[in-house]
């Protein structure tokens, strides 16, 4: 019986909000795919408030704390 790895999806917008629960996923590829889905859903809810702290980012680590990926949005307006 192999243990399903757990990944933690941390988000920084106006403040750092750390994921203490984690999510079980098959592996790093799945975690990277899920990161995009989660970022999309979170950003949808952020809407216009995004511009209050446009350095929004999401990063994923595994149980050992190794970085799996980071998503950043390059945002600008004139």
């Amino acid at each position: 019986l192999t243990r399903v790895p757990r990944y933690f999806f941390h988000v920084h917008d106006s403040v750092d909000l750390l994921d203490e629960e984690g999510t079980e996923l098959a592996g790093p590829d799945e975690a990277r795919a899920e990161a995009v889905v989660i970022a999309g859903a979170l950003l949808r809810d952020v809407g216009g408030r995004f511009w209050n702290s446009p350095d929004w980012r999401l990063w994923v680590v595994d149980e050992a704390g190794r970085g799996i990926c980071a998503l950043r949005f390059s945002a600008e307006h004139p």
Binding site: F9, V11, L17, D19, E20, E21, T23, E34, V37, I38, A41, L42, R44, D45
Partner: protein, 246 residues
């Protein structure tokens, strides 16, 4: 574990009395319904999609949900069920289950054969009207959930679910003041609201930080009822609860 018994069907009486006034005779008749009681562990199916049940189930204690499973194992929780609910009443008229029903926590469940319910409705036609009313309210809850999952943001969705459950627990007298037992995981709440666990986690943090709720040991404590209703755009009209348990 399964046994026939004179189980206390008080939860069903309390549920029905949120819908109509029962006569003493009707109340007695409900309490005398012959049932078979089973104790189910958490996360066990009571009945599955495509099954052809010959009985309905009544939740006596615990917490259950109706759900659908998608390809790839994703799950949508369609509704939550608390003591007094008969979540598969539709099986009395629709032969094949079009979704599954399972426990979320250890639950005591009473099974009532369809034939028993039919005879009961014939003997007490007004109870048939109550079941019809309950079925219509069931549909109203689904309309509310479609709106919730389809259009509200995560904050509103989760707030709405907490509001609905508080009103339903209170109606059957199972709240404890401003709190109620909801020992489910964030993943289960995510399945009910169409969100990721991460999103639910952040939303709960926001609801707590804004002083609307506290969550502790499987309990939800309402800290600011007006604020929570506002966050979830919650109007209890769709639950059509006539009166509250004494």
């Amino acid at each position: 574990m399964s046994f026939a018994s004179n189980a206390d069907l008080g939860p069903l009486v309390r549920k029905l009395e949120t819908l109509v006034d029962l006569s003493d005779q009707e109340r007695e008749a409900v309490l005398r319904l012959p049932v078979t009681v089973r104790v189910l562990k958490a996360d066990q199916d009571i009945i599955r999609d495509q099954d052809r049940p010959s009985q309905c189930c009544l939740i006596l204690t615990g917490f259950a949900c109706r759900y659908k499973t998608l390809q790839g194992g994703k799950r949508q929780i369609l509704s939550f069920h608390i003591p007094g609910d008969v979540p598969d009443l539709q099986s009395l008229h629709l032969e094949v289950m079009d979704h599954s029903l399972g426990t979320l926590t250890e639950s005591r469940v009473a099974f009532i054969p369809h034939g028993t319910i039919r005879a009961f409705i014939r003997a007490h036609p007004s109870i048939g009207d109550v079941f019809w009313r309950d079925t219509l309210i069931d549909a109203a809850v689904f309309r509310e959930w479609v709106t919730n999952v389809g259009r509200r943001d995560a904050y509103g969705r989760v707030a709405h679910v907490f509001c609905e459950l508080f009103v339903r627990f209170e109606a059957v007298g199972l709240n404890n003041g401003d709190s109620y037992g909801m020992p489910i995981t964030q993943a289960e709440l995510a399945d009910a609201t169409g969100l990721s666990t991460v999103h639910v986690n952040r939303t709960l943090q926001a609801l707590r930080a804004n002083g609307l709720i506290k969550t502790e040991n499987g309990k939800v404590v309402i800290e600011n009822w007006g604020g929570l209703q506002e966050a979830g755009e919650f109007d209890p009209t769709y639950l059509h609860i006539r009166k509250r348990a004494a």
